[in-house]
């Protein structure tokens, strides 16, 4: 019999049955402990009392989503002189942009960072043409995303296996890209039309 039944859900699959019989433990060819011990020697563990945790990370993720949505709305809507912008600017606004820095636990790859930096380069070309209040709003958004990335990274340090924390981190990364993309593709919020 050379067929595997795919029909009835509960019918045992001979291949999976064979797989289940394989030994779970496989000994490495050499003792890995000395290398591990050398790496962790003197390295402090994450303090249990560290304040960053799930609630903070979740709150950070929610804040990023909310505020970035607000920014997107502000950029995309028609300018109404009678209505103040979503974020009010009181001080002189610079044109410097500091992209979000993701921590060592983020798991973001160099390819993802390079992709972000490519978009960032196009964003920066347009950023200087934005109205000061829009620039300020963007800078505040980036600061929020940075704070969120910091908190999620700290939470990941405590729970590196958490898929949800990684999703939150990826969410922050996507919000950053969304922010740049919105500016690059939008015709609103500029001091002059291009």
């Amino acid at each position: 019999m050379n067929t595997i039944p795919f029909g009835p859900r509960n019918e045992p699959d001979p291949l999976l049955a064979k797989a289940a019989e394989l030994p779970k433990d496989v000994a490495p060819a050499r003792d890995l402990w000395p290398s591990i011990a050398a790496r962790i020697a003197g390295e402090p563990q994450q303090a249990r009392s560290r304040s960053f945790g799930w609630p903070a990370a979740l709150a950070a993720g929610f804040l990023v989503a909310s505020v970035s949505a607000l920014l997107t709305w502000g950029l995309m809507r028609d300018t109404d002189p009678a209505q103040p912008p979503p974020v009010v600017i009181a001080e002189r606004v610079g044109t410097a942009i500091v992209p979000v820095s993701y921590g060592p636990n983020s798991g973001l790859t160099s390819k993802e960072i390079v992709a972000r930096d490519d978009l960032l380069a196009r964003f920066q070309e347009r950023f200087t043409e934005l109205k000061p209040e829009t620039r300020e709003a963007i800078q505040k958004n980036l600061a929020i995303i940075q704070a969120a990335a910091n908190e999620i990274d700290a939470a990941l340090a405590k729970d590196p296996a958490s898929g949800m924390l990684k999703s939150l981190l990826v969410g922050a990364y996507k919000q950053e890209l969304q922010l740049y993309s919105t500016v690059v593709t939008s015709s609103d919020g500029f001091t002059r039309r291009t």
Binding site: N2, T3, I4, F6, D13, L15, L16, K18, A19, A20, L22, P23, K24, D25, V26, A27, P28, A29, R30, L32, W33, S35, I36, A37, R39, I40, A41, E43, Q45, Q46, A47, R48, G107, T109, S110, K111, A157, K158, D159, P160, A161, G163, K166, S167
Partner: protein
Amino acid sequence: MRQVTVLASAVDSSVELVTRACRGDMGAFEDLYRQHVGRVYGLCLRMTGQPESAEDLTQDTFVSAWRSLPGYEGRSSFSTWLHRIAVNAVLAKRRSPQGRNEVSMTDEIGEQMDFEAESTMDEATPIDIERAIAALPPGARDIVVLHGIYGYSHEEAAAMLGVAVGTCKAQLHRARHLMRGRMGSEART
């Protein structure tokens, strides 16, 4: 009854070791390493098919576990917790530029067929099931390893891999199909 007693004793011992390791006791952590290294290395080896990568990933897993031990709250068994860290390490390596040179990315729907793993597992390994698993594309292989060998449910495996449960089931279906073909062709030669 004796088996139950032995099992309970092993669990108690593990809990005590985790507690001591959480306080920074490296001796206790070494004991945990000795208890769990085989399963962690086995998982990494089967997911990567590369003994050297599996060794590196095993080390990374234990180093990461050491750093994060104080955050371990016992909601899952220590072994499962370690496995989740190991799976994350494997997936992160696979996404890295170095990892992409070794294997292709895990695809979401299981359509990618460009990967043909040449397992470097011991050639003395019976050709049947172990090598058939090693030859699978990464996405299909992951679910066979987690679900088929290590006994995780589709829900648990999906959570570990960061994919939908339906994707896991589709990958398993695909894996069975590919393994059947491979084992069938080898049986004919």
